[in-house]
């Protein structure tokens, strides 16, 4: 029981509960830990607007991702895992090295067909297909994930947060079921989240008050995956000195639908959600609002050779379902209407050069600036509606 002693305050709880677990403590063999990692560098060029650095006037090299992931099976029923991440994404992400997540997963019930567990710590948030591994280039469908659903603008909110999730899985004749249900305290305090929720960076601080998250996943025997994700997060604003905003509240709710069909070498994916977003109590400079966002994409991936994959995606994002073309917004604020939507058509190519090295190329044609990263494009009026972007990425894993 030396392992549980290292867990400190948890040891008593875990020790006593493990006694009732059906897993026998003396039977685990094989290595108890695993370490893996990756490093990726991107090159980005664009017309009219900037993305992750100054990609408009030259080639931006400011998209770097590297991670070190470790898992330790401390006890038969307890797995500790975490990831250290380095990320640079132009002006939008300059935080460098950080702890991505660090969690303990206690599987208190296990049989050969079912599991039930509790994970806690700084946990990865379940959100759609890709969120939990969104910074691992190999697990994404492109160099960039569909920005409508996986907005890099508010990624801090979706990444990982202190809290706990109950999770379970069961394999049945009609497919495999997974669920996650939990409570976390999400991180609202970042410049890009300020941009997307409060329209600009603000002197005060948005503090996450608590969020409820749930995901149901069903993998059918027909190679189909169906998924529902629910998220409900609240935050309160603490005004800074000489702040024009009062102590307001924001709330974010969403149900995200996911469907994926795998047909031999083709994978078809669709995800769709209508996030609801409310602000109240910020005073005259940020009127109360209730907006329904519309976000979704259709994506096809084709492995036409064992190491080569082609990807085509159409991704749409409307900041206000009832003002899709932004005309009402433009009339009310005098700001460009194209900041209220974005339609992105993406063509991507992936080459798994060796099992350790992946090269990717991607082209985006975008109509609208709905998810254009604010920190990279600080001057609102110089943003342009139509823009193109190409990206190259080399990713290495070990």
């Amino acid at each position: 029981m030396t392992a549980s002693r290292r867990l400190g305050w948890n040891s008593l709880l875990l020790g006593s509960l493990l006694a009732v677990s059906p897993v026998r403590a003396d039977e685990l063999a094989g290595p108890r830990y695993q370490i893996q990692g990756f490093a990726a560098q991107g090159l980005i060029g664009s017309t009219n607007n900037r993305f992750f650095g100054d990609s408009r006037n030259g080639v931006s090299t400011e998209f770097t991702e590297a991670g070190l992931h470790g898992t330790w099976q401390a006890l038969d029923a307890v797995r500790l895992s975490g990831q250290i991440l380095y990320r640079r994404a132009g002006e939008s992400d300059r935080d460098g090295l950080r702890v991505d997540y660090a969690q303990a997963d206690w599987q208190f019930y296990q049989t050969d067909v079912s599991q039930l567990g509790l994970k806690f710590g700084k946990v990865k948030l379940p959100y759609g297909l890709y969120n939990e591994t969104r910074d691992v280039p190999f697990t994404r469908s492109g160099i960039l994930l569909p920005q409508s659903v996986y907005v890099d603008n508010s990624r801090d909110l979706l990444l990982a947060a202190p809290g706990a999730f109950l999770h379970g899985a069961s394999v049945q004749e009609y497919g495999a079921f997974d669920f996650l249900l939990g409570w976390v305290r999400p991180n609202f305090d970042s410049p890009s989240v300020d941009y997307s929720f409060l329209g600009n960076t603000r002197p005060g601080k948005l503090e996450g008050k608590g969020a409820l998250g749930a995901r149901l996943r069903w993998d059918l025997p027909t190679d189909t995956t169906l998924m529902l994700t629910y998220a409900n997060a609240r935050a309160e604003y603490a005004p800074g000195s000489s702040d024009t905003l009062a102590a307001g509240k924001v709330q974010f709710r969403n149900i995200l639908f996911t469907a994926q069909q795998r047909l031999d070498t083709v994978t078809l994916t669709a995800e769709y959600g209508e996030p609801r977003f409310d602000t109240a109590g910020f005073g005259p400079f940020l009127p109360n609002s209730h907006r329904v966002i519309q976000a979704g994409y259709l994506q096809g991936e084709w492995r036409f050779l064992p190491a080569w994959e082609l990807m085509l995606r159409h991704d749409v994002f409307y900041r206000d379902k009832h003002d899709k073309d932004g005309r009402l917004f433009a009339a009310a604020t005098g700001l460009p209407a194209h900041s209220m939507f974005a339609r992105d058509t993406t063509l991507g190519l992936r080459w798994d050069t060796t099992p350790n090295l992946m090269l990717r190329a991607e082209f985006h044609h975008v109509d609208g600036t709905g998810w254009l990263p604010g920190p990279d494009n600080p001057v609102f009026l110089s943003r342009e509606q139509r823009w193109n972007m190409w990206l190259l990425q080399a990713a290495y894993r070990f």
Binding site: H69, R79, E132, V171, L305, P306
Partner: protein
């Protein structure tokens, strides 16, 4: 392009079938694993990390060959009905999110046999459906 793709896989499979030493890929386990056969569903659940315990609650230790090893390609396609890249996607999704450990990768079939022989609860595969000392071969039902 699609034709070239299928041609490649056929070539791989054909190579495995024509090689004088190979019959069809065999599923091997440590002798302490109970039973003499395994269902296709169970095998697929084990290799997609959904089943982590043997029916007697002994933890399963999964071994694999590199993604581009011919025996791995044949095993994935013939026994699991999955392309190696789909298996890798599943392992990456499960392991990087902290939900499961990825299978342990060995460099060749000699190491595969040695590790399966030495590791309680281990499962692996070889290109030859043969009997080896100190390893149990499972029949696929």
């Amino acid at each position: 392009m699609a034709q070239a793709y299928f041609f490649f896989w056929r070539l791989v499979l054909l190579t495995c079938l024509l090689s004088p030493l190979t019959a069809s890929a065999g599923i091997i386990v440590n002798p302490d694993v109970e039973g003499h056969s395994i269902s296709i569903t169970s095998l697929r659940n084990i290799y997609t990390l959904r089943q982590t315990l043997w029916p007697n609650h002994q933890p399963i230790v999964v071994f694999v060959l590199p993604d581009d090893h011919p025996a791995h390609v044949a095993f994935a396609k013939e026994k699991l009905g999955l392309y190696p890249y789909r298996l890798r996607q599943t392992w990456d999704r499960m392991s990087f999110s902290g939900m499961a450990s990825a299978p342990i990768q060995v460099k060749d079939e000699n190491e595969m046999r040695a590790r399966v022989r030495a590791t309680p609860g281990a499962i692996g595969y070889t290109s030859k459906d043969m009997v080896y000392d100190g390893i149990k071969t499972l029949r696929l039902e």
